[in-house]
Amino acid sequence: MSANLFHDGVDILHGQRRLWSFHGGVHPPQHKHESTNLPVIRAELPERLILPLHQHIGEPAEPIVQVGDKVLKGQMIGRAHEFLSAPVHASTSGTIVDIGEYAVPHPSGLNATCIVIEPDGEDRGLEHPRVGDYLQLAPSALRNLIREAGIVGLGGAGFPSYIKLNPGKLDGIDTLILNGIECEPYITCDDMLMREYPREIIAGLRVMQHALQARVCVLAIEDNKPEAFRALHDAALHEAGIEVILCPTIYPQGSEKQLIKVITGKEVPANGLAIHIGIVCHNVATALAVHHAVEHGRPLVSRYVTVTGAGVSQPRNLDVAFGTPVRDLIIQCGGDPAAVKRLIMGGPMMGYALHSHAVPVIKTTNCIIAATEADIVPPRPVMPCIRCGACADACPVMLLPQQLYWYAHTNDLDKVQEYNLFDCIECGCCSYVCPSNIPLVQYYRYAKGAIWTKEREHEQADIARQRHEFRLDRLAREKAEREARRRLKKASLAKNQDKTPHTEEAVDND
């Protein structure tokens, strides 16, 4: 460990809990120091902010403003109606100039509905009521407040945080893990956040602990971030029940199930959730957002974003208002958007290439890599699998990547599921080590999509079958009804004919 882990002459790692390890993992080149040399500054506000209504996992928010409306910073502009959803807030003050389809950060390059704000330059905020003492609030009221603040997992997944702050059937959970691992190369936004806001992150962690009624809190940081570790270690020094832990660097330690294994030695069952074994993980940036929402009534409207890669001359972290186009960030960091060879959102292992530099930063954007030839290894020919087993050794989930590849590539969707395709976390370790340069993860992503498509088609076919049978029944019923009416008419006609002479008789008898 190169880091200076002695503090006032005392080994601060002394007494740290025993750590475990997970299977596999890789050590790709870090490329982290490039973006940690300059201090974090606020990114300039762009001419227009483009705010997608879908920046999280779940249902999109629904717009509650109209074109022409004036909005204040922090004002809700998209409301979440569903359980699994999150609202969207204006990230500065200004005028709503459009609600329409714009390119959003997504590997498809497709458009989605966005609210466009023209900033008025004043950045005036909405007055939010302060909560006061959150310990007096019921955990459910606290969760609601966090939901209304639009907070979602800021580590990259974007799952609405309030759901993961609910202990469910349990009275409380055992361990709350705050994830400050940031294991993917190039990304440093959590590192900078931890260096600058250690006390606020601990305060946010306390709020989360209250909501979850967690017994122990563990804040985990990789040993390539000694400054962040020391800042948090000091901030938590006199806090009972919070352990700040340094973990040896290895990718993908920041992935939830792997981190849980490292900290607790426990395995989350396949198809199970961490909470089933009494553990919940949140990201450090999410904790800070929770602190802002609860202590200052401030909704989530901005985040730290790493802008790096050889395509920018001043790689650094910026505090970015959501909706700011990626292009503006590249220019502010001394890059030429047109000269960038490949634009990656996220890291080199799990990120994806953007189709356009006009897409905005959203809640889940942690990093932009403006890559040039210097960052990209020239394409190498894909060769046949030599069954070397390197991929299986590297897989943190203990899958058999070469088998998965074989069945995905031959489109055997049943077999690929038998080999637990859906446990694959798409970490890319297998592709990284493959000597034959096979783009393994791409095959797994494709196979997952193909299976979802097939399932969807099956559901649609079932609905169509039902509707068709329903229609056949309806036609048969209508036919039967017509038939019945015809017969009845015939019968009553015949009866009337019978009756007529009878009546006459009666008259005669009179």
Binding site: P29, H54, V104, H106, P107, S108, L110, A112, P185, P348, I369, A371, A374, D375, I376, V377, P378, P379, R380, P381, V382, H409, S431, Y432, N437, I438, P439, Q442, Y443, R445, Y446, K448, G449, A450, W452, T453, E457, Q460, A461, D462, I463, A464, R465, R467, H468, E469, F470, R471, D473, A476, R477, A480, E481, E483, A484, L488
Partner: protein, 185 residues
């Protein structure tokens, strides 16, 4: 008055009986093999196989009357699944039944619709909404793209359009085989 009540009463009893009878009489007998074949067929109900819907075709396959390569919407995957189920050799789609095409959805040019209801009568899955002399609309979610409503329309206001892809329906494409793979330093 009494007569009216009585005759309505009689009518409802008669209908009730008839319906009960119809339910028994027209009930599709559950043949397990036909069910299994029908579960593979795409339920487009287009009739391109030469039968008036997927289930009749399934029945014909089960009885050996029809071959397994007559359903264009099911495509190659459908034929493979049928061959697998029935233990037969797969074969290419019979060109007489049509070609595999991208799934489409019917769109009514609403201002031109005269409300004749002919398309409603043609649609096998009741995916068209509208009453006589009123504008008709296709429920996109329910439309199977069978094409059967296009021909009956007297003013040619129905056309088949490709399904628009959204972020939710988008899937990662298969990697191009034996290509070059890039990575990062």
């Amino acid at each position: 008055m009494l007569a009216a009540v009585l005759s309505l009463g009689v009518l409802s009893v008669v209908f009730g009986l008839l319906l009960g009878f119809a339910a028994v009489r027209f009930k599709v007998e559950g043949d397990p093999l036909v069910d299994k074949i029908d579960a593979i067929l795409p339920q487009t109900q287009c009739g391109q196989c030469g039968y008036p819907g997927c289930r009749p075709y399934a029945t014909a396959i089960a009885s050996g009357e029809a071959d397994i390569n007559q359903c264009p919407p099911g495509g190659e995957a459908g034929i493979l699944a049928l061959a697998d189920l029935l233990g037969r050799d797969p074969k290419p789609l019979n060109p007489e039944n049509g070609q595999v095409t991208e799934k489409m959805v019917a769109v009514i040019d609403e201002p031109r619709c005269i409300g004749c209801t002919l398309c409603i009568q043609a649609c096998p899955v009741d995916a068209i909404l509208g009453a006589a002399k009123q504008m008709h609309t296709v429920i996109e979610k329910e439309c199977t793209g069978c094409d059967l409503c296009v021909a009956p329309c007297p003013v040619d206001c129905i056309s088949m359009a490709p399904i628009t892809q959204t972020i939710d329906s988008w899937r990662w494409p298969a990697p191009e085989k034996a290509r070059m793979a890039g990575s990062y330093r």
